[in-house]
């Protein structure tokens, strides 16, 4: 099972579910180092990939993401023990971990891609928003205009500008064209079904609270929390009953039910969520309700059990029994889980020299890129190494860290904080100092252990059980997302339409006609740009298109397939895709 979540149209940007390691393909530190260290100075071309991957990273840094990572890491450990004749009774528990991890990951995958695409194309922090999503916060941090004065709600102002600029450009329209042309499929990420589902859920939520159509960033934040901070799913994943089809079915039924429930969410529930998220961490503690999971269940007993289980896991992860082989193998998991908040912006190969006084100099070619103190205890010497540019998404950690490795050893680190923010600098320094292992080496160890797991899953008769489980998850995933994404299509036509869209998404429906396709793309984007009819007419004219002709052609298609596509509100237009 592939665990990399990629940016659409960008083959080199991805996030791994287990390690939460993020790679941004467009970064070239030789060129971009200076701009990525600054505030609001990152290259604009990186915006869509950063937003997409940051959304994945944010989703996976959650109770559900943490437990999924734990299950897969434990399965790998168990496989390594079995392969070495040390896991006499581990086959059943290993299969249980695999069933739980793979079923939940498969069921949530299209949603994860849909959320990331929604963050790219649609999410806008509402005017004066008290809640800003992580992707929007990063847009403000990396692309916002930090020279302009802001009020108390600086973040939304700083994120709205760069998002608007990106969405107003041709690259965004082309990327959206690419999404609409992606197949209605589930084996290559489920981008289109996931995106259509998230947009449908947004419209449904706005029926009870019309403000959500404008506060789309709040909706994104809510939807992410609704699924990834779900205590009942955590409880199901941590259940240790023997592996069976029932285990997979329980997870599938739960997630399907969750999709039903999110469509019944009330304005008051979203408002409670917004008020809670807007609280400072200290105020949350004071209110006696410091955990987002509280908002998604009234079952106190479930909440206590789930919290306790996560606490036990954290304790277990923090203190592996180093007298056992399993304990030694668990160190890989421990280090992986402890680095899941780190976003990796880029790496470059460097030459690292440390002198006898502990001064470290880093060079690429003839250019010195860093001079500073080495970490204590580093021996003098020169060797090739690597510079990683990273930051943590934990609150108050937006400072960038340059991690300098000589060979495999961390020999120096430097922090670039916002000028004058000593508190952030200190927190970030502490955070990065705690990273005691080279992430490259750790990922290599993870991949090696995954190979062990893949070998064990090929053993007979395990291979047949695993194949059956994967087929079940895939079939159910298709059925559920088809129902969600194509909810407005009459039931007797739904499967036919999904089949028409299987290969090239909406392209056949839109007659492969560039004018119709771009008419729809631009109308859709116009909502997040807050464009009114005269501006939409002007926008389409830039592409040589006529709004009335585009609307007429789309209306004919809507009639032919019996699906609503555009809602014409006179001065404003809203597209369902």
């Amino acid at each position: 099972m592939n665990e990399r979540y990629c940016s659409l149209g960008d083959r080199r940007s991805w996030t791994e579910l287990v390690t939460n390691y993020t790679s941004l393909g467009g970064v070239d530190l030789d060129r971009d180092m200076e701009s990525l260290l600054g505030w609001g100075t990152a290259p604009k071309a990186l915006l869509p990939a950063l937003v997409h991957e940051a959304t994945h990273h944010w989703c996976f840094l959650s109770p559900v993401g943490f437990v999924l990572a734990h299950l897969q890491l434990r399965a790998r450990r168990r496989a390594a023990l079995l392969r070495n004749g040390l896991g006499e009774n581990l086959l059943g528990p290993l299969l249980g971990d695999v069933i739980r991890y793979e079923t939940a990951a498969a069921m949530l995958r299209p949603l994860a891609e849909g959320l990331a695409l929604f963050a790219e194309f649609d999410a806008v922090p509402g005017s004066g928003a008290s809640v800003t999503s992580l992707p929007a916060t990063l847009v403000a941090t990396f692309f916002g205009d930090w020279t302009s004065p802001t009020g108390v709600h600086g973040l939304w102002e700083w994120s709205s500008g760069p998002l608007r600029e990106w969405r107003n450009g041709e690259a965004c329209a082309r990327r959206k064209e690419s999404v609409l042309g992606h197949g209605f499929e589930f084996t290559e990420g489920g981008y289109l079904p996931g995106y259509l589902t998230v947009r449908k859920l947004w419209v449904e939520a706005a029926k009870d609270d019309r403000a959500l159509l404008n506060h789309s960033d709040l909706f994104l934040t809510f939807l992410r929390a609704f699924f990834y901070h779900d205590p009942a799913l955590v409880d199901l994943l941590l259940d240790d009953s023997p592996p069976s089809r029932d285990v997979a079915e329980a997870i599938i039924v739960h997630i399907a039910d969750r999709f039903d429930k999110v469509q019944q969410v009330t304005k008051e529930q979203v408002s409670d969520f917004e008020n809670f998220v807007a609280l400072e961490p200290g105020d949350r503690e004071a209110s006696g309700n410091s955990d987002l999971m509280n908002l998604f269940t009234n079952d106190r007993s479930l909440l206590e059990t789930t919290r306790q289980a996560i606490d036990d896991l954290l304790a277990q992860v923090a203190n592996p029994d180093l007298n056992t082989v399993e304990g030694l193998l668990a160190i890989v998991g421990q280090r992986t889980l402890s680095q899941r908040d780190i976003i990796h912006l880029g790496s470059q190969t460097v030459e690292v020299s440390v002198d006898g006084h502990g001064e470290c100099a880093v060079k690429t070619g003839d250019k010195i890129v860093h001079v500073g103190r080495s970490v204590p205890g580093v021996q003098a010497g020169t060797a090739s190494g690597r510079l990683d540019l990273v930051f943590s998404i934990l609150p108050g950690h937006m400072a960038r860290g340059s991690m300098i490795y000589r060979g495999d050893d961390l020999v120096a680190l430097s922090i670039n904080e916002l000028q004058g923010d000593q508190d952030e600098a200190a927190k970030s320094h502490q955070r990065f100092e705690d990273i005691d292992s080279d992430p490259e080496r750790l990922r290599a160890a993870c991949e090696e252990m995954q190979e062990q797991l893949d070998i064990v899953l090929d053993w007979e008769p395990l291979d047949k059980l695993v194949a059956e489980m994967r087929q079940l998850a895939n079939d159910m995933c298709e059925g559920i997302y088809e129902l969600l994404a194509l909810q407005d299509v009459p039931p007797d036509r739904r499967s036919h339409l999904a089949e028409v869209m299987r290969e090239s998404g909406l392209m056949p429906l839109l007659r492969w006609d560039r004018d119709i396709i771009y008419g729809l793309v631009l109308i859709s984007i116009s909502w997040s740009l807050r464009l009114e009819r005269p501006e939409i007419i002007q926008k389409l004219a830039e592409y040589g298109l006529d709004l009335d002709k585009a609307l007429q052609a789309i209306a004919e298609i809507a009639q032919e397939y019996n699906i609503p596509i555009i809602t014409d509100g006179g001065n404003i237009l809203f597209s369902s895709v």
Partner: protein
């Protein structure tokens, strides 16, 4: 590819681009999609078109670019392999006289930018493609 010919490769195409270029270039063009490996499952596929620089190719690419233009501009990333084996990557940008330029103007500019000689451009101007 015959050694005496210049080969053009246009990368990063969408499915819509492919569909349109198939209409204009017909069998003279070949399309490649990057092979998926187990590690890369989930990554969107990139499409590349390869075509010999010919009158038909100039006309087809010109008509396709006319569809793709925004205002009176359009960009084209192209890789050329010359008869002597030299490979050149170019980022071309075309600015036309109006937002609805005459086909002849587009063909002329595209042909010149792709390095076609005057005879080939003249031939391209006179070709009528089935989908025109």
């Amino acid at each position: 590819v015959p050694e005496s010919e210049t080969q053009l490769r246009i990368p990063n195409l969408t499915k819509l681009d492919r569909h349109e270029l198939e209409q204009y270039l017909g069998e003279s063009a070949t399309f490649e999609t990057e092979q998926l490996t187990s590690e890369k499952i989930g990554e969107p596929v990139t499409i590349i078109v390869a075509v010999i620089l010919s009158a038909k190719a100039i006309k087809g690419i010109s008509l396709w670019l006319m569809k793709k233009r925004t205002k009176n501009e359009v960009k084209l990333a192209v890789q050329k392999k010359l008869p002597d084996g030299t490979e050149i990557s170019q980022e071309l940008q075309f600015t036309f006289s109006s937002s609805a330029p005459p086909t002849a103007e587009v063909v002329q500019k595209v042909g010149e930018a792709l390095g076609a000689d005057d005879n080939l451009i003249a031939e391209a101007l006179n070709i009528k493609l089935p989908t025109q």
